[in-house]
């Protein structure tokens, strides 16, 4: 769905995959590379699969036990959950205050889960100088997933991530990754979106397509990390694709409309607009299709596909003037 413009003209079934002879030479070398014999046997694979399953179950069990302990502590000592600044320690911290963050800190000895954690299975710890703090209002059971000394993933809630290390710290959020280069950021994570507010130094948002957007203190960040109230452009495009796959063209059109109006200047909206025009055209809604094409041409007049779009629009013939996506009746 995100690469819709090309759908205006059907390609030749016999078109070559590579046209440039120089590139073809490199491709030929890649094609000729012999496939190595897979040394992994089925038994080893099964052992790895069982270990993977066991680790996953152990993690779930650990999380459940830790959450239960945390809830018990929260009920008994509510003051423990009030935020206080945490001092630097010999390793990075994941805490609200002194709370035992479930998967990332040592379980208390008398409440240790029954699951045995071997050294190689032990969860990684954050490097010293990296502090993650749960902000007030966040579910106390929400657990940060530490994936390395400089890598973590935030669950739903509001978090502060403060890095004083020179290494890049990667913070996983639903719509990509935040890279901290000694920066400090507060992140609000909802189900599938996040909103980041940079407090110190530059932070880079890397979206799911790998696009990098620097964020600065005080700068609005909704363009890079949309507010939690609305899905990302990619999510809307995927939603439209799903509706289309399910044969629900009307819903696909609705999702695309939302995409191109909510994120009017995004690359996803650019292709989404042409998809929208194409779907409207296929639905017999020619005036609306013409408006969608017109909006595309107005927003991206010099785009490589503007010629195709213009031809598609012309093929629809004359019609009423448009106000945005809507024809004026």
């Amino acid at each position: 769905m995100t690469d819709g413009p090309h759908r205006i003209e059907l390609p030749d079934e016999d078109e070559p995959a590579v046209r440039h002879p120089g590139l073809q030479m490199l491709v030929d070398a890649a094609r000729a590379q012999p496939t190595p014999r897979v040394s992994l046997d089925a038994e080893t694979l099964h052992a790895a699969w069982r270990a993977h399953r066991a680790r996953r179950r152990a993690r779930i069990a650990t999380l459940a036990v830790a959450a239960a302990v945390l809830l018990g502590l929260a009920a008994l000592t509510p003051r423990l959950l009030e935020p206080t600044p945490s001092p630097s320690e010999s390793s990075g911290t994941v805490a609200e205050t002194r709370e035992p963050a479930p998967p990332t800190t040592q379980p208390s000895s008398d409440r240790a889960p029954e699951t045995t954690v071997t050294p190689e299975d032990a969860p990684p710890r954050l490097a010293a100088g990296v502090e993650v703090t749960r902000l007030p209002g966040t579910d106390p059971a929400a657990a940060v997933e530490i994936t390395g000394a400089h890598a973590l993933r935030l669950p739903a809630g509001e978090w502060s991530v403060d890095s004083h290390v020179s290494e890049t710290v990667e913070v996983g959020i639903p719509d990509g990754t935040l890279e901290l280069h000694g920066g400090h950021v507060q992140v609000r994570v909802a189900a599938d979106v996040a909103h980041a507010e940079v407090l110190r130094d530059e932070v880079i948002h890397v979206d799911l397509e790998g696009r990098r957007t620097p964020l600065h203190p005080g700068a609005p960040t909704d363009a890079a990390t949309p507010s939690r109230a609305r899905p990302t452009a990619e999510a809307l495009a995927a939603e439209a694709e799903a509706h289309l796959a399910a044969g629900d063209r009307a819903q696909a059109i609705a999702s695309l409309r939302r995409l191109v109006t909510t994120y009017p200047r995004s690359a996803t909206a650019r292709t989404g607009l042409i998809d929208l025009g194409r779907l409207l055209e296929a639905s017999g809604r020619k005036d609306e299709a013409r408006c969608a094409y017109a909006v595309f041409l107005e927003r991206w007049p010099g785009h490589a596909l503007s010629g195709d779009v213009s031809r598609a629009s012309t093929a629809l013939g004359e019609g009423p003037a448009c106000k945005g996506l809507r024809p004026q009746r």
């Binding site: 995100t2 690469d3 819709g4 413009p5 090309h6 759908r7 003209e9 059907l10 390609p11 079934e13 078109e15 995959a17 590579v18 046209r19 440039h20 002879p21 120089g22 590139l23 030479m25 490199l26 491709v27 030929d28 070398a29 890649a30 094609r31 000729a32 590379q33 496939t35 190595p36 897979v38 040394s39 992994l40 089925a42 038994e43 694979l45 099964h46 790895a48 699969w49 993977h52 399953r53 290494e167 890049t168 990667e170 397509e209 790998g210």
Partner: protein
Amino acid sequence: MARVTEAEATALLAAAQRGEPAAQSALYRAHRDDIARQVLRMTGNASIVDDLVQEVFIAAFGALPGFRRDAQLETWLYRITINKVRNWWDSQRRRQRREDQVAIGPADPVSTPEEEATAHEHRRRLYAALAELPHKYREAFTARAIENLSLQEASDRLGVPVSTVSYRTRKAEEQLCSLLGLTKEAGS
């Protein structure tokens, strides 16, 4: 693996979906070479084939109970492979940024005959450039150009329309030529 009838394949898949180890092993043996070849074509790196094949099948075993058979098993596995390879490319990019490398290519052989050295250099350049492409363009180009799939086959595997495959492949070629310094004149 000996050729099996459709009914046998269906029974094997059903058993694998129930988590029967023997059936899962048979499934693995039937598809591992295809997956290995796909991983190699997608990454150009022979040294990570075993690891990614393992990751693909561990993910597949975990997801098999939910496999609804509305797609071909091969297509389903191909898409799992694409996701694992995407993760690998992402980790390569992160590592590259951290290490500030100029380029990351397949593992270097110590010494090779001249012809193989040339082919190796071609592959290294191609995959270093592919690393710079967006996932979708790289996947379309790999499927069409390196795996030599037809437009329709690539469309089925990637789960996007034929025209999308065509468009992405062309865009990939444009970007590759630019990255590799291949001029239009040389290509015309």
